[in-house]
Symmetry: C2
Subunit: 220 residues, 2 copies
């Protein structure tokens, strides 16, 4: 197994766990969780109350979350038409290996945002797409040509306000029953995290260009 | 950046991409995606059609997916009462860095399962929990004591049949407009994957036990 990227005591997990002790507000925790993720899961319900859950890339823009999709997407059309939604972002941080199955669990950070999306239009639309690029592919924007009119027309950009939210952080060691502590069985946690691997150049690259520095910097 | 765990041409991404070419059934792809994940997102709607999306650990058991939660959980009580649901599992495989923002995207595998859960009870309940342990913490079960009656009583185990499903695999290089190919800008993909880090022993471990071999084997 690889070595954790940060020394014990300063991992992302413990940093988040300590936030409440430092009286950092729940709003700050919410922002941090949203800023650490790339993909959330968004749901809408049909007229019979059956939910549909789909993955979407997102970015936080102050007190709202931006998402974008095709004007041909049923999900995005329903959201643009005012369907109530929930966007949930979950970052899996580790496995909690307790002495019983019952106490075994996972460490994670999860943010939920409930509400109704607003359609982002006009000049704000390109700006919102740029903000999505800055979050998902930091540094990339300077290398991109401007959006074409037909591209903007084919894209729905939606903003979900951070008005009704919930955030949960689980970052624990196993908490076994006292009875189980005398069992000579290993227990502990196994941290998990998303890793970026080496960039793969496009096969149709017509120039002998190195991987840009900003791409090399996409580590976690 | 770290080196990808598999040589180019045999990564998990391309292996999945090639499946349709090899006439492997969509059902096999669905099973592989579900078997590769640990956490899915499950939704239920309230009586006003507002969806709630929550992360859950899961395991595939043949032609159904098992989930488990507290009898105190509103989500699990609603699911046990027959609320229609959707469970979506998404594995983020990489970033697609195209020459335009419009063509930039992500590579991922995603499985959706729609339906109504069945409550797993009796002898089947402990067996289902064991199957969840075998998927989430492979090798661990032999080290665990039997479930206690009160633990089983405090746990809801639900099975969602794989009757109505959808699976999508996106594993592409950038597909830019011909017009954009002469721009001297790097393009390509950046693979992403979940990594297990070194196990951390529980602070209350009363024995000098090494990290078990089966825990060391949890790599991806």
């Amino acid at each position: 197994m690889a070595t954790a990227p940060l020394a014990p005591g300063s991992t992302d997990r413990t940093r988040v766990r300590r936030l409440p002790e430092k009286a950092v507000s729940e709003r700050d925790v919410l922002h941090r969780v949203l800023d650490a993720g790339l993909v959330g899961h968004v749901a809408v319900s049909d007229d019979q109350g059956r939910p549909y859950v789909l993955p979407v890339a997102y970015a936080r823009d102050g007190d709202r979350v931006l998402i974008h999709g095709s004007t041909g997407s049923r999900l995005f059309r329903a959201l643009a038409a005012g369907a109530p939604t929930c966007l949930t972002v979950t970052l899996l941080d580790g496995l909690v290996v307790a002495r019983s199955a019952f106490e075994s669990s996972m460490n994670y950070r999860s943010a939920m945002v409930f509400g109704i999306c607003e359609v982002v239009e006009g000049d704000a639309k390109a700006a919102a797409l740029d903000l999505l690029t800055d979050h998902l592919l930091p540094g990339r924007r300077a290398d991109l040509r401007p959006h074409k009119k037909k591209e903007l027309a084919a894209t729905l950009v939606l903003a979900l306000p951070l008005d009704e939210t919930s955030v949960k952080v689980s970052a624990n060691h196993p908490t076994d029953d006292e009875d189980d502590l005398d069992t000579p069985v290993w227990a502990g946690t196994v941290p998990l995290g998303e890793t970026y691997y080496d960039a793969v150049p496009a096969p149709d690259l017509r120039f002998d260009l190195p991987v840009p520095e900003y791409v090399r910097a996409w580590r976690r």
